[in-house]
Symmetry: C2
């Protein structure tokens, strides 16, 4: 079991056929997730292509997330979290926190992606839109989106099966100015495990 | 009035404060739209950042689309089309048509973006998720998305005001295997005009 420290990022190599179990250790913690083809980082999991592939805005059991070349990369094979995730929102970044009033550096999911990849000696070609595991952004009235606290409970998890050799990156979202990570606005650590 | 030929792409320089009027000349024709900061193409209109900024999945009058650095780039200032647009779906590409059964080359919005920019001597840094003007992709039951014919009538239009000097690129979507461009599945030309 590997920790994704609170407010920080981590990346890991996952072989085709292995599963990544992402555990919401304390509950209500959003985990931004990316996946890149290990052979060519320019091919990566794409939310805009995945919504077309799965015919929805939230992956459900059995759904295959696809890359920007429309090839399956991660399949959702287990989910005890309540099934509420987000594909609509960009990863938070320095500009987001500046707009929210931060005058000093704030940890953010974008920098966490780059730091997690960098620890493996890698750099992503860009910052793709993430799969925001456990994030609760409903579409109401056909258009408006709302930021609501996650429904995931402590210890609940999702399992994602790798459909190609890939690098999977995570960020334990450091958002503490909106209820993205629960009404307490207290970002916590999460964990993952690679299963054969 | 400049034509976006049926199935093809076109790009244009737009100065801050100018408006781009995009006309659905024959009705029910989707126009994929991108915008790049003219000073630095790595900054571009981003759907995942714009959904956060506007608090919705479809821009309405007065909404400002923002870049991947969260700065306003285009504002929707006029819309006679019925107000149905899409920010969820990726631009079509060769892989999409291969999956739909095409065995030969099919025009596609991704190649059209690159061709339109290339005609200006430019290359985009990547293929951002487009603003799919006039495209009708409702979210039903809180999750599933449906591909429906556009509601836009012949001659209806939108006006987008440039909030910075930018390159705006268009593709008259060549999708003729799904009712993206109407039940007739007959892609047509569209037009645009730059207004001071």
């Amino acid at each position: 079991m590997i920790e994704i420290p609170a407010r920080k990022g981590r990346a890991v190599r996952v072989a085709k056929g292995q599963r990544v179990k992402v555990i919401n250790s304390r509950g209500q913690q959003v985990v931004d997730t990316w996946a890149f083809n290990a052979e060519d980082l320019r091919e990566f999991m794409s939310m805009e292509h995945s919504r077309v592939a799965i015919g929805g805005i939230i992956p459900v059991l059995g759904d295959g997330l696809v890359t920007n070349r429309r090839r399956p990369i991660l399949t959702l094979v287990e989910d005890t979290s309540g099934g509420v995730h987000d594909t609509l929102f960009a990863a938070c970044d320095r500009w987001r926190y500046e707009m929210l009033g931060c005058t000093e550096y704030h940890d953010n999911c974008t920098d966490n992606l780059w730091a997690g990849m960098s620890a493996l000696g890698l750099a992503p070609p860009e910052t793709p839109a993430p799969l925001n595991l456990f994030m609760n952004i409903p579409v109401v009235d056909g258009n408006r989106v709302e930021v609501r606290p996650p429904v995931s409970t402590p210890g609940s998890f999702v399992c994602l099966r790798a459909e190609m050799d890939c690098i999977v990156a995570f960020s334990a979202c450091p958002q503490d100015m909106l209820p993205v990570n629960g009404l307490a606005m207290n970002p916590t650590e999460a964990h993952f495990e690679i299963l054969d």
